[in-house]
Symmetry: none
């Protein structure tokens, strides 16, 4: 079995990354020490430096991994999805606010890294190129939507619609961060779609949205 070792190597790398993400989500970056990491991963101290060359690189790799997971999930979602621009936007929004994506763990990780990103360029840089792909996917959809809606009453440029929609989703994440207990996923979705329906009444509706509780 020739690949066994190679396989193990990769397994350990992944175990370390997972341990970092677990620790960051549960204890925050400042308490994610090397000791904490190896204990969670059940691996030896030297491993971190062997595979990543230091704790900082491991943190950066973990940030990248988390980012990749997010964008890969989003793209997989879009592959499976409908072709109309409104379907695509809807899918992205639903995906971004769905439980497998927007949850305590991810919110904690995401904000923890963002809080440090300013000062750790290695963490920051990866986010950007991937971020642009999300932005472009939404922009393409809105470009078509705006073109179609244009005859009637274009309220918003595609660029602004994209910017606003992303901001709205980001704001929901922040809401989750600050109030994980009272956060209501359906409410968040409903609000985003009400905003979109108000802007593009011909394309978005509230059909299927969960109505307010009260």
């Amino acid at each position: 079995m020739p690949g066994k070792r190679e396989q193990n190597r990769e397994q350990n790398r992944q175990a370390l990354i997972k341990a970092v993400l677990d620790s960051v989500s549960e204890k925050g970056i400042s308490e994610t020490s090397v000791s904490e990491i190896i204990q969670r991963a059940g691996l030896s101290r030297g491993m971190i430096h062997l595979h990543f060359g230091g704790k900082d690189n491991l943190l950066a790799a973990a940030a990248r991994s988390s980012s990749e997971e997010y964008y890969d999930g989003l793209e997989a979602l879009l592959q499976s999805g409908g072709d109309s621009p409104q379907e695509r936007v809807e899918m992205i929004v639903r995906g971004d606010l769905s439980e497998p994506v927007l949850n305590r763990r991810n919110v904690s990780i995401w904000y923890a890294f963002r809080g440090e990103a300013r000062n750790r360029s290695a963490i920051a840089e990866y986010s950007d190129t991937r971020d642009d792909r999300l932005r472009n996917m939404i922009l393409n959809a809105f470009t078509r939507i705006v073109r179609e809606a244009g005859r009637e009453d274009p309220v918003l440029s595609a660029r602004d619609a994209t910017h606003g929609t992303i901001a709205l989703m980001e704001g929901m994440w922040t809401d989750y961060l600050l109030h994980p207990d009272r956060f209501d996923r359906d409410e968040a979705l409903r609000i985003v779609f009400r905003f979109l329906a108000a802007l593009f009444p011909a394309h978005f509706s509230l059909a299927g949205a969960v109505p307010p509780k009260n």
Copy 2:
């Protein structure tokens, strides 16, 4: 001169808090060490424990101070402002996205503390009670707006409008965090108002908003 000492005491407290906020905004929380703080404040090492009983308490006080500054500014703004609900919402939005409030320093500080808040309850707790006041101010305004708009066609409950508006503003802060260089304040404002105008056409318009550049 009995008050002199007291005065000095307060001066030193403030100097330490300012030093923390400066350091957090420039270097991040993880590099805001006691040495860094006292060097910036030009005070002695013991001072931190003398006045705050430890570094953690000082950080919490700095977070609280930053939060207070934000909300005090907002309230002052509202005192000076018009009485119509749409004027109040507009003021809050303009205030929240204005340069004295939304700038590199504040964004850095805000996100740095939020990234750690999960794990440092002392930092987290203050945010909440004050946060509720902003939420209520906006909610009160939208309650009146919705009531007035209601006769026609209320698209959104006041709660949802509040939630969405706050989320939109938060999203703009995140945008600033991630892209401080390409962030365009006027664009951000315009987008928020376009969203609001779409939801409440009778109350919000784009009059006064800076038009898109292209």
Copy 3:
């Protein structure tokens, strides 16, 4: 007692330097760890970084201190000494090979640092400027000796005499390093003076030198 603390500070610095020199002479540089140093000095771990900013700087300071001690001793010796050039040369030689200067401890330290100096420039650099002073003291003396001897038959330029004499002394140190047990101080002295007497018969003699044992 205002200066007490300042005084203590300096005492601790010196204690650390002494501990380094003790350890280097007894165990070598590679075994002179921080733990070893603080244990010998009876001080706390943090002290090294507090006073020197790191182990490397402390090692460099110790090397410098050792070098200074050597040259200061030599100069003190010369202050007290006669004025004739041959007396000055004799004093330097006797000083350099005397027990307080050439002993196990100093030889160990000197060679340990030299062995590392190539790669630790901080250690190397200090040596040079001081070294030049020794060289000049000897050169001045030989310049006068050569001038006086010149009428007869100057075998050697003052520069070469200086170079050779220093080399001879250095060689004696090496001999001590390699054979501390069989090293014979009187023999070393006698040999140096025999060389000098052969070169400048009018100025140096073996009067006073300890005769060979056999």
Copy 4:
């Protein structure tokens, strides 16, 4: 081909020793880690323990190898040389100060090992027995020289002459160590011979020595 493996084995041993010597001369002993060595040798990590049973043994073997190379070269030189004692001394001196022997690499290696020898007996011990052979070769020559010169005026016992000559050469090595840039090989040679000529005018002269530059 049965010898192939054996041959490879020896090749690897030599590659490791060479890698150690290269590293020691370029980076010093303290930075000559196992990783550094195997990288230079292009061999696998386990090789060191396979062939030498550990890093320390490899270092000792490298020290021994370097020492052997030196003495073997010297003996080869003497084989090819003249029979008169003064010719033999001259050959040893010229050999010891010649470029293939006295160069940056060798000086670095030699002093690095000496600096550590105190504490690593394995390194130290080899030196001694070989060292004695050099000493004896010179002593034999001077014994004859002194006997011949004796009738006239024996200034120095053969033992002292040997001791002094070796010290003088050692001193030149030290000079090279400390000032590799300004070291002048011809000057070093000239000085040694002037010392010898002063002691044994009937046997040594400066004929053939490069005159001083100025």
